[in-house]
């Protein structure tokens, strides 16, 4: 697929947090104490996200965090920002509307594998397709944790759970493959034990102009312990990082992954578990925000910027 070139992987952090205001710091971002089980991977994601917000330094009131239902979906309660907890699986259409309606806001949605790939699967597909500017962070633990160990859409075949006591028999969802197919413009993957990497992925996702998704393998120590050890070097696993093009035309570039190349991205997505980590795909496609704004500008131009009263009077005059 031919696409517009994307930003270099290096992260540039915007300077201002609002005139005369102290920069965002973790202290002001911490809200209620997380209710997750000790050892849950989501703690690390939360700590990383505080760092992301510190670096982005947005005005605090402009940050919106929303989620569906599940352990990971408790996330917004632990971030001191506008936001909340919507119904199961539907945080994406809800959050997308916030972004569409309000250009001044920075919208983050959080969820788990059940919320994102099962009940909300349809919404994920269409959110990717619509390319509304927002960031979706999926904490994938391959199990339903809040409801105490049922099979999730990313549980591997043979996974034993309360709903599959003899082992799961269905092909698990491949999130990267699914998102690429749906047309997402930023697709990345990380691991909750790799804090710096996770922070960089979320930061780049937040800076992407469009719908960005970061899947983070985040272990559920209660119901799926060790699920992602295969990707954790400290547990003897293999940390396969995607080696991105520098975009500087050096000869090594040829051997590296070009994140604008959909076919290469798909090859990486098809790798056996635990697979690759990093930015699989990043292209710039007009966002729904921009297309809608342009549409409004065009129609406003056609109607010569008429007021609501003038427009309505015109319409009613035609109906006489």
């Amino acid at each position: 697929m031919s696409s517009a070139p994307v930003s270099a992987p290096l992260v540039e952090v915007p300077a201002a947090g609002g005139p005369g205001r102290a920069p965002l710091a973790k202290k002001g971002l911490v809200s209620d104490h997380p209710t997750w089980c000790p050892g849950c991977g989501d703690f690390a994601v939360l700590a990383s996200f505080y760092r992301v917000l510190e670096k982005l330094n947005y005005p605090q009131e402009s940050i919106v965090t929303f989620a569906g239902i599940g352990c990971s979906s408790r996330f917004p309660y632990f971030v001191n920002s506008h936001g909340g907890h919507f119904i199961h699986g539907r945080s994406l259409p809800f959050a997308a509307a916030i972004s569409l309606g309000r250009d001044d806001l920075h919208v983050f949605a959080f969820g788990g594998d059940g919320d994102g790939f099962s009940i909300g699967g349809n919404h994920l597909f269409h959110a990717a397709r619509k390319n509304t500017k927002m960031t979706y962070v999926i904490m994938d633990n391959s199990v339903y944790g809040l409801t105490k160990k049922q099979t999730s859409p990313t549980s591997p075949i043979g996974f034993k759970s309360k709903t599959d006591p003899w082992g799961a028999m269905e092909q698990p969802v491949n999130p990267m493959k699914t998102l690429l197919t749906a047309g997402a413009t930023f697709v990345a993957r990380s691991h909750a034990t790799q804090v710096n990497h996770m922070t960089e992925m979320m930061l780049r996702a937040a800076q992407h102009d469009g719908f960005s998704v970061v899947e983070i393998l985040s272990e559920c120590v209660e119901f799926n312990e060790g699920a992602f050890d295969a990707a954790n070097p400290r547990k003897g696993g293999k940390w396969q990082l995607i080696d991105l093009k520098k975009n500087d035309g050096t000869p090594e570039d040829a051997a590296r992954h070009d994140p604008t190349d959909e076919f290469s991205a798909m090859k990486l997505a098809l790798a056996d578990a635990p697979g690759y980590f990093g930015v699989f795909y990043e292209v710039n496609r007009p966002t729904k925000n921009k297309l809608e704004r342009d549409l409004i500008a065009r129609t406003r131009e056609k109607t010569k910027g008429a007021s609501a009263l003038q427009l309505l009077e015109g319409t009613f005059a035609k109906m006489r």
């Binding site: 009131e61 936001g83 569409l100 309606g101 349809n122 919404h123 319409t315 009613f316 109906m319 006489r320």
Partner: protein, 612 residues
């Protein structure tokens, strides 16, 4: 409209015959046009309705259109006449049949003694049937001849409009102007062809077959008190412009009949007003989008029909819990499930009231006619904003598609621009205090306390923090209930038409308003007329105060509604009223044949209860 000067198309052939024929004066007439949906018979309705709007009190039209996928058989019924016309008529006085199937399907709707006008090119009526006056006219070939070879039979509808204009002495210059305005956008040739078809229809010496022509009686009253001109549109259109007038600029939905035309219009109109409308991937996404817009601080709308409303229910419950202002329109159709997608029913009331899980006190409104679709949208916006709550509007298939003329709204005083209020929230701000109903604080608002609010579907305390405490849940349930009770206090008092106490009060809701009014009028004129009043409920939840006292003033309260009589013999609203007021005088008249009430059905139903 019957002034001698305006009843002839100056210089057209046949005008002399038309003006010289003997004319019978009639109060009103019901005409049913039956053809196929691509024949443009509905646009004839549009022309007649607009003529009504531009003719002060002399002509009113009213119609029903069974929606069909393009190409299918279609009908259009118009009732024209003097003064207030409140229903489309129980039976047709005139049937215009374009095809054999039109004739066969609809001859039963023609009253004995009525007039059958049929296209001799396509229809062979039963020669032995002497019940009707048969008027055969070569509609297709006459249209082709008038318009010329290229037009095929396009324009048959306008030919028939010409015929109707001649038979009922309609205002030809006004109709010509309407045709020119309506078709002007399609170029001069389209207008020329239409005018040729119209003139040919008007010139056809139909009185030779009919024996005479008609004219409508002049209104005896002083006419309307309207200070503004009338506008003509269908109910869904009126709803759209009501929403736009109220300041609704954002919304989302999923297509479903008969709701779709509202979302189509909003998608077209909203960018002009600086807003946007999203077609969502499904009903749940639609309501989620709409709630997201509302949460972000915009006045927002979603809507659907029957099954779509069911899918929205969980999110609407969240809207009640999180206290988010939202307008949700439900254009009712026959159910359950996919039911009768293009027929009218009023069977979503219980769903609207109780469709969510948990105790979810609701605001539910229903417009009574096309004009009211405009005003109810404005009222829904007021309540949603003032009380930060979802408001459901129950309209129905008949109102959605019916065209009516009504006085142009006082736009200057009604148009509102909903503004985004980002005033910083004070240090002691509480989103959910137990005794007041603060407005939703959208993101972008600085919280001077430094604590940013979480909105949630979990039970929460006054500060919005999730709470699993049963005591808190009990208090917050009470809070949500009291809030809806506060809505009740903000509603206008009930108005009763007719006798303010006595034998019977006829109660209805939504599009049954007109037929019930006509039935009440008939009963008031009957021998041994009962003392009878009509109360039409526009606020179904909460009810405006005082309803129980009103019911106590009548021996019988007959609730007429288009849903099933249920397991215990009462329709949905009747059941609700009986439960709320424990009044055994409340009884039901119901039906579910997919059609609006015939006046005689209501009259018979009320009489049965009176004699019981």
């Amino acid at each position: 409209m019957v002034s001698p000067n305006s009843s002839t198309p100056g210089g057209q052939p046949g005008s002399a015959a038309a003006s010289s024929a003997e004319k019978t004066t009639i109060p009103d007439v019901v005409i049913r046009l039956a053809g196929n949906s691509q024949d443009g018979i509905q646009s004839v309705g549009g022309f007649l309705a607009r003529l009504a709007g531009r003719s002060d009190q002399d002509v009113m039209t009213y119609m029903t259109i069974p929606a069909t996928i393009s190409g299918g058989p279609s009908i259009f019924q118009v009732r024209m006449g003097t003064g207030d016309i409140l229903s489309s008529g129980d039976q047709a006085d005139f049937l215009v049949a374009f095809y054999q199937h039109s004739y066969e399907s609809h001859i039963g709707a023609l009253r004995p003694g009525g007039v059958l006008i049929y296209d001799t090119d396509h229809v062979k009526p039963n020669p032995d049937d002497r019940r009707f006056t048969n008027v055969g006219i070569p509609i297709t070939s006459a249209t082709v001849e008038a318009v010329g070879g290229t037009g095929k039979d396009k324009g048959k509808n306008i030919f028939v409009l010409g015929l109707i204009a001649r038979i009922f002495d309609l205002d030809v210059p006004k109709l010509s102007t309407l045709i020119k305005e309506r078709l002007g956008g399609r170029g001069d040739e389209a207008v020329r062809n239409a005018m040729m078809a119209f003139d040919a229809g008007y010139a056809h010496p139909v009185e030779n077959l009919l024996g005479h022509l008609y004219r409508f009686a002049r209104a005896t009253s002083a006419g309307t008190t309207a200070s503004r001109p009338a506008v003509t549109m269908d109910g869904n259109t009126a709803m759209v412009y009501g929403l736009l007038t109220a300041g609704v600029r954002y919304g989302a939905a999923y297509p479903i009949t008969p709701w779709s035309s509202i979302m189509e219009m909003l998608r077209t109109e909203l960018p002009k007003y600086g807003g946007l409308f999203v077609q969502a991937e499904d009903e749940i996404a639609a309501v989620s989008h709409a709630l997201g817009f509302a949460y972000s601080g915009h006045l927002s709308v979603t809507g659907s029909s029957g099954p779509g409303l069911s899918l929205k229910m969980e999110a609407l419950g969240w809207g009640s819990m999180a206290e988010i202002p939202l307008i949700c329109i439900n254009v009712q159709r026959g159910g359950p499930s996919t039911g009768l997608p293009t027929s009218i029913e009023q069977s979503d009331l219980m769903q609207a009231l109780y469709g969510s899980h948990g105790d979810t006190p609701r605001v539910v409104l229903a417009p009574k006619d096309v004009e009211d679709c405009f005003y109810i949208a404005i009222e829904a916006a007021r309540i949603a904003k003032e009380f930060s709550t979802p408001v459901i509007i129950l309209t129905d298939q008949a109102l959605a598609t019916r065209i009516e003329a009504f006085e142009e709204p006082d736009l200057k005083n009604l148009v509102k621009e909903h503004t985004l209020d980002l005033t910083p929230a004070p240090v002691d701000y509480k989103p959910y205090p137990l005794d007041t109903w603060p407005k939703h604080v959208p993101p972008g608002t600085r919280m001077l306390s430094g604590k940013y609010p979480t909105v949630t579907g979990l039970e929460h305390d006054e500060a919005g923090h999730p709470s699993g405490s049963p005591a808190v849940h009990a208090k917050m349930n009470a809070r949500r209930r009291e809030k809806i009770k506060a809505v009740a206090k903000s509603l206008p008092a009930h108005e009763i038409y007719g006798d303010q106490s006595g034998d019977v009060l006829v109660v209805g809701w939504c599009s049954t308003y007109g037929p019930i009014r006509e039935a009440v009028n008939q009963l008031r004129k009957s021998d041994n007329a009962p003392k009878i009043g009509q109360l039409h409920l526009r606020h179904l939840a909460p009810f405006a105060p005082g309803l129980g006292e009103i019911f106590a003033r009548y021996k019988k309260v007959v609730v007429c509604e288009l849903n099933d009589e249920g397991l215990y013999g009462y329709g949905q609203l009747a059941s609700l009223l009986r439960a709320a007021y424990a009044n055994p005088a409340i009884v039901s008249v119901t039906k579910t044949d997919g059609l609006t009430f015939k006046v005689r059905e209501i009259v018979a139903g009320v009489q049965k209860h009176l004699s019981a």
